[in-house]
Amino acid sequence: MLVIRRRSGESVWIGDKVEVEILEIEGSQVKIGIRAPREIAVVRSEIHLTAEENRAASTLPQNAMDDLLRQIRTIRPRP
């Protein structure tokens, strides 16, 4: 990982289309601004992780549901 020290108001470029600016530093929080072309999605990492997880969830292998149904031993209350 490339590590660069920057102060508030300074920025870095990623390639020649994306600029990341440090807007404000307050305690443990940093406010950053990102200028990027529309076709580059900018999301926080939690959303990126969730998108990957959703894609994996949507392609549950064919036999996974069968395995799951075998795993589930639902005990119904007796009438």
Binding site: V43, R44, E46, I47, H48, L49, T50, A51, E52, E53, N54, R55, A56, A57, S58, L60, P61, A64, M65, D67, L68, L69, Q71, I72, R73, T74, I75, R76, P77
Partner: protein, 153 residues
């Protein structure tokens, strides 16, 4: 009663109140906005979020209170607004349904995304996958096997 073609269980009837609208889709599936929440008894206590528009698209999920009864809601203000709850965390169970989407883990295990629960406004059917801003819960929380073997509540 309307019915829907599902990925896993053929044609399934459902109550109109089970229809959900995700105004922004969910991460990775931003264009998929209409889902139906199905509770086939073969998979209880799990549930199925079935796309209304694509039969092959469905997500298996577990009600969050079953996985973690002490789960602390942490919905961001934008998501609260989309849900129609404004500036206040909804009460789970009464006003809102919390589900964690399940993904395949190692081997036959399943993991649940507690970082980003699906939250449903029980009154309106508005739904979002509310991705937390903290790292208090994992996007790959283990699902203990015993949970799948417990009697129905």
């Amino acid at each position: 009663m309307p019915s829907i073609q599902t990925r896993d269980f053929g044609e399934v009837p459902y109550e109109p109140s089970a229809e959900l609208v995700f105004p922004c889709g969910i991460p990775g599936f931003e264009n998929q906005r209409r889902f139906v929440l199905l509770t086939p008894e073969q998979i209880a206590p799990l549930v199925l979020l079935q796309s209304k528009d694509i039969a092959a698209l469905a997500f298996l999920a577990i009600p969050v209170p079953i996985l973690d009864p002490a789960y602390q809601s942490g919905i961001g203000s934008e998501d609260l607004h989309l849900l129609g709850f404004e500036e206040r965390q909804p009460r789970p169970g009464e006003e809102a349904v919390f589900l964690a989407i399940l993904a395949p883990g190692d081997g036959a295990a399943l993991t649940a995304n507690l970082l980003a629960p699906v939250v449903i406004n029980a009154r309106t059917g508005a739904a979002v996958q509310a991705v937390r801003h903290d790292r208090r819960y994992s996007h790959r929380s283990p699902v203990p096997r015993e949970l799948l073997e417990q009697p129905c509540l």
